[in-house]
C-alpha cells in the first residue's frame, strides 16, 4: 500500500501556513477590539446651520420667527431646545422643546409662501419667554440659542442670535386677494360708469321679480296682508342687507297699492331698519297715515321659536303673499310649506345653497343665489345699479375663463395656477 509520506519541506510549509493564519486571526481580533469603542460610542449630534431670527412677517407684532436648516441628525427621539433671554449673556429660559421630525418652514406658507425649499428648514414662532411678560414687546431685542438633544447627550449651540418684533402694515399673504378685489371692483365700477353714458342696459327677465307686482295686487284684492321675512341673519350680513333693499322696493309698491305689509323680524337691529324703510316707503307714496309701526315687530332670536311664531301668524292671518328674502337654515321648509297650505303666493330669494331645493319645491318663484343680490337693481331699473350687474357678469366670465385654463393646466400636470388662488 503506498504510503503518503510528508517530507521535511512540506512540514515547514505547513507550519508557515499555520503561523500566517494565527497572525491574521490575532490582527483581526485586535482590529475588532479597537473598533469596539467606536461602535459602542453614541453618535454625535450635528448642530444645524443658518440659525436666524427675524420679525415674523404679516402679523401684528409680538412674535419672532426662528429658522434653521435641517440637520442630518434629525430623526425620531431627537429634539431641539430653544432658549431665550432679554440679555445676550443670559439668564436663559427654555422656551420649548421641538420634535426634530416636525416644525418645518413649509408648515407656514402664510409667512414664507409655497417654495419647495422650505422643507429644508425648521421654523418656530416665539410669542413669549416663560417667566417673562405674557407676550413679547415690540421693539425690544430678544436673544435666542438653539441646542439639540437625543435624551442622552445635549449639544448646545455656539451662537446667540437676536431680533426685535414689530407690527407689519401689509399682509403680503393676501396679495392675491387684493389683486382680485381690485380687478373685480374695477370691472364693476367701469360698468357703473358706462351705464351713466348709456343707460339702456339689457338684463334678462327674472320671473320671480316680475311676479312681485302680481303678488301685491293679489293681496290688495283679497284684502289680506303681505308677509315679508328678511332671513335669520343680522344686519352685518350681506344677504340681510340685500333683503332689506328689496323690502324698500316692495314696501313702496305696497304703499302705492294701499295694502298692508307685515315684517316679523329675527333681529332687533333688522327690525329698526325695516321700520324705517317701510315708514319712508309709505311717506314717499304719500300715505304716511297708512303706515303702522306695529306691523314691523321683533319676534325672537331663536330659530325654531321664530318659525313657530311666523307659522302661527300665517295660519291665523292667512297672508295672500309671502316673501322669503335673506339667509335661511333648516326652518325654510317649515315656513314655505305652511305658507303653501294657507294658499299664499310665495316668492323666495336666498343664497343658502342647502335651502334652495326646499324653496324651489314649495314656492311659486325662487331667486337663486346672485338673483337675490340682483333683485334690488332689477326692481329699481336704475342704470347705475344695472351697470353693477353687468360688471358682476363680466367678472363671472373672467372666472369661467380662469377655471377653464386652470382645468386644462391641472390636467396637464401644471399646478402653478392653483397657487395663485390659495388663501392662508
Amino acid at each position: 500500500m503506498p504510503s503518503r509520506c510528508i517530507g521535511r519541506g512540506e512540514k515547514d510549509k505547513g507550519a508557515n501556513e499555520l503561523h500566517k493564519t494565527l497572525l491574521l486571526f490575532i490582527i483581526t481580533l485586535i482590529f475588532l477590539l479597537s473598533t469596539l469603542p467606536l461602535v459602542a460610542q453614541e453618535p454625535s449630534l450635528i448642530l444645524p446651520e443658518e440659525f436666524t431670527a427675524f420679525d415674523t412677517p404679516n402679523d401684528a407684532g409680538k412674535s419672532i420667527s426662528l429658522v434653521w436648516k435641517v440637520s442630518s441628525s434629525d430623526c425620531e427621539g431627537v429634539e431641539y431646545i430653544i432658549s431665550g433671554s432679554t440679555n445676550p449673556d443670559g439668564p436663559w429660559q427654555e422656551i420649548v422643546r421641538l420634535d426634530a421630525t416636525k416644525w418645518f418652514k413649509s408648515d407656514a406658507p402664510q409667512y414664507f409662501g409655497l417654495g419647495t425649499k422650505h422643507k429644508e428648514y425648521h421654523f418656530y414662532e416665539v410669542t413669549n419667554i416663560p417667566g417673562r411678560a405674557e407676550t413679547l414687546t415690540n421693539g425690544t431685542p430678544y436673544y435666542f440659542q438653539l441646542a439639540m438633544t437625543n435624551g442622552a447627550i445635549t449639544a448646545p449651540s455656539p451662537t446667540t442670535i437676536s431680533a426685535r418684533s414689530r407690527g407689519n402694515w401689509f399682509d403680503s399673504s393676501k396679495t392675491n386677494i387684493l389683486i382680485f378685489v381690485i380687478i373685480f371692483s374695477a370691472l364693476i365700477m367701469f360698468f357703473i360708469a358706462a351705464a351713466r353714458r348709456n343707460p339702456h342696459l339689457f338684463i334678462r327677465r327674472i320671473p320671480g321679480l316680475d311676479a312681485v307686482e302680481e303678488a301685491i295686487g293679489r293681496a290688495t284684492e283679497m284684502g289680506k296682508p303681505i308677509l315679508y321675512l328678511t332671513g335669520l341673519y343680522d344686519m352685518s350680513y350681506v344677504p340681510t342687507i340685500a333683503a332689506t333693499c328689496i323690502l324698500g322696493r316692495v314696501a313702496r309698491k305696497v304703499a302705492n297699492y294701499d295694502s298692508q305689509i307685515k315684517v316679523p323680524s329675527y333681529d332687533p337691529i333688522v327690525m329698526t331698519v325695516c321700520q324705517e324703510i317701510v315708514r319712508e316707503a309709505y311717506l314717499e307714496a304719500g300715505r304716511p297715515d297708512a303706515f303702522k309701526e306695529d306691523n314691523i315687530f321683533f319676534v325672537t332670536t331663536d330659530q325654531f321659536a321664530y318659525v313657530a311664531a311666523v307659522d302661527g301668524i300665517m295660519l291665523r292671518e292667512r297672508p295672500a303673499a309671502n316673501f322669503y328674502m335673506g339667509y335661511y337654515f333648516a326652518e325654510s321648509l317649515l315656513l314655505a310649506e305652511t305658507g303653501a297650505s294657507v294658499g299664499a303666493i310665495q316668492i323666495a330669494g336666498t343664497d343658502s345653497v342647502t335651502q334652495l331645493p326646499f324653496f324651489i319645491v314649495t314656492c311659486d318663484y325662487t331667486l337663486m343665489g346672485e338673483e337675490l343680490y340682483a333683485a334690488s337693481a332689477y326692481l329699481s331699473r336704475e342704470p347705475l345699479q344695472l351697470g353693477s350687474l353687468k360688471g358682476q357678469d363680466v367678472s363671472k366670465a373672467f372666472i369661467l375663463i380662469v377655471l377653464l385654463i386652470g382645468a386644462i393646466l391641472s390636467t396637464s400636470g401644471i399646478y402653478f395656477i392653483l397657487n395663485l388662488f390659495k388663501t392662508f
Binding site: 422643546r97 408648515d107 297650505s341 345653497v353
Partner: protein, 272 residues
C-alpha cells in the same frame, strides 16, 4: 274652497301615513343590514384602527339637542371605538355652552361602560369663547389651562406628550354648524392634523368639496352613515334602530311621489 279642502285632506292623509311609517317600525323589529359601507365613512374607521394605543384624539362636539338625533349616535359609536383602541380622548367644544353637557353625557356614558378613568384615559374641556383653536396651535395649555371641573390640565396623564395641536393624531368634529371650517383652517392647514366630520345629512353635501381636496379624511353624514359606523364598530345603537323607520318613510315618500305622478299623468291625459 273644494280645492282647499282636498288639498288639506291630502296633507292630513300624508301626515297620518308618515306618523304610522315612523311609529310602527319602532315596535315591529326587522333587520336591515348594510351591504356596503360608504368609503367616506370607512376612511374614519380605518384611521382610528390604524392609530397606535395611547394616541391622543380630539372630539369636538358642536351640536345642540335639536340635532342630537343624528349626531349623538355617531359620536357614541366613535367614542366606543376610541376607547376600545385605548386611545386618549380629549372632548371639547368651540360651538357654545349648550354643547358641553351633551358631550359630557356621551363621553361619560361610554367611559363608564368600558371602565375608563377620567384624567388618564379621557378628559373634558370647558367651552372657551374666541379663537381658541388659534392658541392651541401654539400652546395647548395656554388655551386650556384647566378642564371643565377647573382641574389643571398639564399634570394630567391624558395630556402626556401634548404641547400643541400638532401633537394630536386625529380630530373628529361632530357639527350641526360651521365649526369644521375653523378646524380645517387651523387644524388641517396650520397644524397638519387629520380631520373627520360627523354632520347632519343636509349639511353633508356642503362638505364633499373638502373630501375631494383631502382636507377632510372622511365624513359621516346623517343617520344612515351613523348606522354604518355603528355596524363597523359592531355595537348597534339608536342609529341602527332608526334605519327601520327611515327606510319605511323613504319608501313611503317614493310611493307618494309615484302616486302623485300617476295622478298627474291621468289628469293630463283627461285634459287632452
Amino acid at each position: 274652497m273644494r280645492d282647499e279642502f282636498r288639498y288639506n285632506l291630502t296633507r292630513w292623509i300624508i301626515f297620518i301615513l308618515v306618523a304610522l311609517a315612523l311609529s310602527i317600525p319602532q315596535f315591529i323589529k326587522f333587520g336591515l343590514p348594510w351591504s356596503t359601507t360608504a368609503r367616506v365613512v370607512h376612511n374614519i374607521y380605518d384611521k382610528i384602527e390604524s392609530l397606535p394605543e395611547g394616541s391622543p384624539v380630539i372630539i369636538s362636539s358642536s351640536f345642540d339637542p335639536a340635532s342630537a338625533g343624528e349626531l349623538k349616535p355617531m359620536e357614541l359609536a366613535f367614542v366606543r371605538q376610541c376607547f376600545r383602541k385605548n386611545l386618549r380622548v380629549i372632548g371639547l367644544t368651540i360651538w357654545g355652552v349648550p354643547a358641553v353637557p351633551m358631550m359630557t353625557d356621551i363621553i361619560n356614558q361610554v367611559a363608564k361602560e368600558m371602565g375608563k378613568q377620567y384624567g388618564v384615559d379621557y378628559v373634558i374641556l370647558p367651552f372657551k369663547p374666541g379663537p381658541v383653536y388659534l392658541t392651541m396651535c401654539q400652546d395647548f395649555y395656554l388655551a386650556y389651562p384647566s378642564d371643565h371641573k377647573d382641574e389643571p390640565t398639564k399634570p394630567m396623564p391624558v395630556f402626556k406628550g401634548i404641547r400643541t395641536l400638532k401633537d394630536i393624531k386625529f380630530l373628529m368634529d361632530f357639527a350641526a354648524g360651521v365649526t369644521i371650517d375653523y378646524w380645517i383652517t387651523y387644524g388641517r392647514e396650520k397644524a397638519k392634523i387629520d380631520l373627520g366630520l360627523g354632520c347632519t345629512a343636509v349639511m353633508a353635501t356642503d362638505y364633499y368639496p373638502y373630501l375631494q381636496s383631502k382636507q377632510l379624511l372622511g365624513l359621516i353624514g346623517g343617520l344612515g352613515a351613523a348606522s354604518q359606523y355603528e355596524a363597523l364598530v359592531q355595537k348597534p345603537g339608536t342609529a341602527t334602530e332608526g334605519m327601520r323607520p327611515q327606510t319605511v318613510v323613504h319608501l313611503l315618500i317614493i310611493a307618494l311621489i309615484m302616486v302623485g305622478n300617476l295622478i298627474f299623468i291621468v289628469t293630463k291625459s283627461k285634459r287632452r
